[in-house]
Symmetry: C2
Subunit: 353 residues, 2 copies
């Protein structure tokens, strides 16, 4: 084991602060990574404040961060896919059981025994739970490490590891292609990636927003149209016309208004998770054989596919780079949606701690 600098929360009510954690020395299968940037996901805030206690109680100290990019500093003797100096990424998963039906189907994001990048019991017993990317380094099984295409800016590529795959995966799953009409609800960290992907897939892309002042930005990101969702007339014009809608809103909102915009067999997928149940009218689903679904991240293979796609289409996240010392302020701003569109922590800032 070795010591690594990190930022951690000591309790649900503590701000994040400088800390020193243990990392394991690389095993034969491990890749040791110097973390250069780590994106800031809303999940980081939820987990560090124990807001998901019922589903996943937080263990402290907690080191968040699952949008990790960096450079390989060392590899185990059995590692074949990576070498020192490679530009790599790590997302929400660092291990799974490899034996369940989901793992065998290559869909380890659904493995019941998956090991999350932070907050899961640590199988290597380096600590009680896994520690995430708000740290100077991390050691990960090569099967859960991704290659980052050479042309992508690393600070802006970091959010691809969660926000990117979370929006890419359901669009692929539900068949978003050229000629389809696709809606993206909510223009935040997830939504702005959804717009970039839908546009890159060749879909006619419509952004729904409650903020008319986001219109120019939506068009810049690749939207063909912008609809202010509070305007019932504007919404009605699109009734029954969407093949797919990606719903990125984690706050309460009227899902039926969007279900009614779907065409026959259209699908709306939730990637934001509102705390309270959404009231869903059965008629809207029955009348067009429409469906409402949800989607988490993607598999490791699909995450690599997404990164390669981003390389080919030069897609990254719009980020505001911050030093780790501003993380608590960034959390406060994230709650106010005061970020365009994702914070990315420059981990070089940790050296001064």
């Amino acid at each position: 084991m070795y010591k690594a600098k990190a930022y951690s929360a000591a309790s649900a009510t503590s701000p994040l602060a400088a800390d020193t954690i243990q990392r394991r020395n690389p095993t034969d299968r491990d890749v040791q990574i110097e973390i250069l940037f780590c994106g800031v996901c809303h999940s980081d805030l939820h987990y560090s404040r124990d807001e998901w206690h019922a589903i996943m109680p937080a263990v402290y100290p907690c080191v968040p961060g699952h949008e990790i990019v960096g450079r390989v500093t060392n590899v185990g003797s059995g590692v074949t896919k990576f070498k020192q100096g490679d530009r790599v990424g790590v997302g929400c998963l660092v291990d799974s059981d490899h034996t369940c039906p989901n793992c065998r189907a290559g869909l380890e994001q659904f493995c019941p025994n998956q090991v999350l990048t932070y907050g899961s019991p640590d199988r290597h017993k380096t600590a009680a739970v896994t520690y995430g990317g708000y740290s100077e380094s991390v050691v990960v099984d090569e099967g859960f490490v991704l290659h980052i295409p050479a042309n992508l800016n690393l600070s802006a590529a970091a959010p691809l590891l969660c926000a990117g795959i979370t929006t890419y995966s359901p669009m692929r799953h539900w068949g978003v292609t050229e000629g389809k009409k696709v809606g993206v609800v909510g223009l935040g960290g997830l939504g702005h990636m959804g717009v970039k992907f839908a546009h890159a897939f060749g879909a006619h892309t419509v952004v729904f927003t409650t903020s008319p002042n986001k219109k120019d930005d939506a068009l810049r990101l690749g939207a063909d149209e912008v609809v202010v969702s509070r305007n019932a007339d504007e919404m009605q014009k699109h009734a029954g016309s969407f093949d797919f809608i990606l719903d990125c809103v984690a706050a309460e909102h009227d899902i039926n208004a969007y279900i009614n915009l779907l065409t026959r067999d259209g699908n709306i997928t939730l990637v934001g998770a509102p705390d309270k149940p959404l009231p869903v009218s059965a008629f809207g689903l029955i009348m067009g054989r429409r469906s409402l679904s949800g989607s988490p991240i993607g598999s490791i293979a699909e995450t690599q596919e997404m990164l390669n796609f981003c390389g080919e289409h030069n897609i990254t996240s719009d980020v505001e780079v911050i030093p780790i010392q501003k993380i608590n302020e960034a959390y406060a701003r994230m709650i106010k949606q005061d970020v365009k569109y994702r914070f990315s922590i420059d981990m070089a800032s940790l050296k001064s701690e």
Copy 2:
């Protein structure tokens, strides 16, 4: 035009009573049918009492009935698929626009200009709206008439035209086949057909019911297992295991309890339509990439496919045959769920009116 005996409601608060209506003389494309039996669907009650006013305001007099079986008495000169004496059926649709994308896809159940068997504006101007199957005869375009296999009992085949296709279609659409695990929620007119089809498709069929005393009947109908849905422990044993669930419950119920029983990529389809929105938890959908959808009836082609399947597997509805004079009593009993599992009106009873 000619006169035909029928039972109609004169207003939302009137009981159904004997009446005389106009039917058109068959055009070149029409099939004239002597109605022998008509199933009683909950929609008949909703419509005749104007309970769907917001979606489809009732026009009076109203003649319900869209589970029609009978015998061909006359055909137009251009009719090629039917001849006098044929055993035929008519379901919920008697026409569509034939030009919209849904019609061109062979899915006229989604045509925005579809003509329902009762209550739709009558294109032939015989009356203000179309009149349904609580009548001694009906005249229908041959494109919307179905063949009834020779081995099926007509009184028990009538409900196939709505309850049958409504449960068959979503199971086919969502891929219910041998080896799948399928749930049916609610053992009523729709649910008991769902059980028969799931069993005939070779699926492992589980019935969910709030009434433990329905267990024996569920097993008789083809269920492999019966789960009392109020028993949380029993429900928990099935967590994450269903490929498909058909939800036939029109009353309020906890849909999330069923979503949590779905496996990865599992689907639950609503065919009952509760009045009030169902609260849906996003997490249940996100965690297994599960989906919630709805389904109306099926296309004409699929309805014929379903009837042929019923012929091959000797599937009909469990019916209680009543004379038309008992229709108001049957409505009262239907509300109390006091029917196993569908009323079928013997239209010979209309001759005495």
